[in-house]
Subunit: 224 residues, 2 copies
Amino acid sequence: MTEHLTNSIQDYLKHIYELTEDGQPATTTALATRLGIAPASVTGMIQKLASSEPALVSYRKHQGVTLTDKGRRAALEVIRHHRLIEAWLVQTLGYSWDEVHNEAEKLEHVISEELEARIAAAMGNPLRDPHGDPIPSADLVMPEDKSMALSGLALKQEAMVSKVESQDTDLLKHLESLGLVIGARVKTLEVSRYDQVMRLQVRGRNEPVVLGPAITNRVFVEIK
Amino acid sequence: MTEHLTNSIQDYLKHIYELTEDGQPATTTALATRLGIAPASVTGMIQKLASSEPALVSYRKHQGVTLTDKGRRAALEVIRHHRLIEAWLVQTLGYSWDEVHNEAEKLEHVISEELEARIAAAMGNPLRDPHGDPIPSADLVMPEDKSMALSGLALKQEAMVSKVESQDTDLLKHLESLGLVIGARVKTLEVSRYDQVMRLQVRGRNEPVVLGPAITNRVFVEIK
DNA sequence: AAAATTATTTAGGATAGACTAAATAATTGT
DNA sequence: ACAATTATTTAGTCTATCCTAAATAATTTT
Ligand SMILES: [Mn+2]
Ligand SMILES: [Mn+2]
Ligand SMILES: [Mn+2]
Ligand SMILES: [Mn+2]
């Protein structure tokens, strides 16, 4: 039951998970780009993962890959580690949300299940990481995420920032300076669909902020 | 300045450091045993470390290895990580001293200098790990360790337990049950050098304990 | 429906770090 | 001093994971 998956394989599975969240198979090139690896190498690894016993991915030449059940569980395991570690570093060592990603990227592969459990318990089993990403439960169920992109919000609508899809330090710092942090309450004052610009009131701030699509497509909100 | 040392190399250097603390070069076989690797493989790695530029070890065929300055600093870096992590896990996650070693063994290679610094700061720059081993300072100076083996203690002498040289869970649990933990105060009631047995009063305990060399050579004390 | 372009796979090679078996050097016992 | 034993090194393989270049398949453009 505890056949070891290498760091490399764990990374492949994690990225395949993320690329297939939309229901579509992950293409070789997309994977190669995300992993920073040559497409030819990705093909090789995919073939290996597909023909391992039991298979971790299912694969048809030129059609892309999807995860098998086994592969999905392994991916969720890594993602749980990553997100718990991020939350833990922020909560116990005063890291800010723009600094934790790279650290978690390395730690995710080496913590034991025991350490995972202790970290989770110490924080009361958090449901989200510092960027608002849902943390899979200990039995590897991914919490449902009902958030929508800020860019999809209608005029005069109120919502709460629930997630930021970015690991870019500069963007995260910038969002923080605008008050657009997880939990912030916002209201759309002006929506210009044509040139993809939006004016927004952040509760507790004096001036409204003007945002382009580089931001409104990466910041997610929940209407409640 | 930041050429990457692999996990494997870090482990070699760490074990060479420990094996050469007595001033003697580390032999191929001793290293092989500690690393759980075939002697032939160790020879190969040693040759590589010796001929790298700059060299991490100095080596003469059949004479064993010692660390160069560069190698020693790298070893101290790993040891500092290991011991800080052990201390941190015990202090913040309620691990006990017999559970932290394996976890630290993996984490030591992947934490950043930033994380190291935050961990150290969070604990107020501790000088010893949970087993009493000294923690190298941030600038990689190993604190002097004046402790002596319990077996060397004279009759009627009082001392404080300062270090336990073992990663064996069973032994550590046993010592804990005897009250022989770091900081415990003890006094020798009876010393039998011939059959290497010792009777000891642990302060705060009712009954004295009788200890054989398997324990008295691994438990270290400071006379103060 | 070709042609051009883009995506993917195959083939061959490199590197790191391990292994085993055989050769050699060092040490120990007589 | 010689033989036996033990320690170490060399030589040849193996696995994992990456690479580049060339071949092929799929998709898009004209
Ligand atoms: Mn990773
Ligand atoms: Mn886990
Ligand atoms: Mn290690
Ligand atoms: Mn360090």
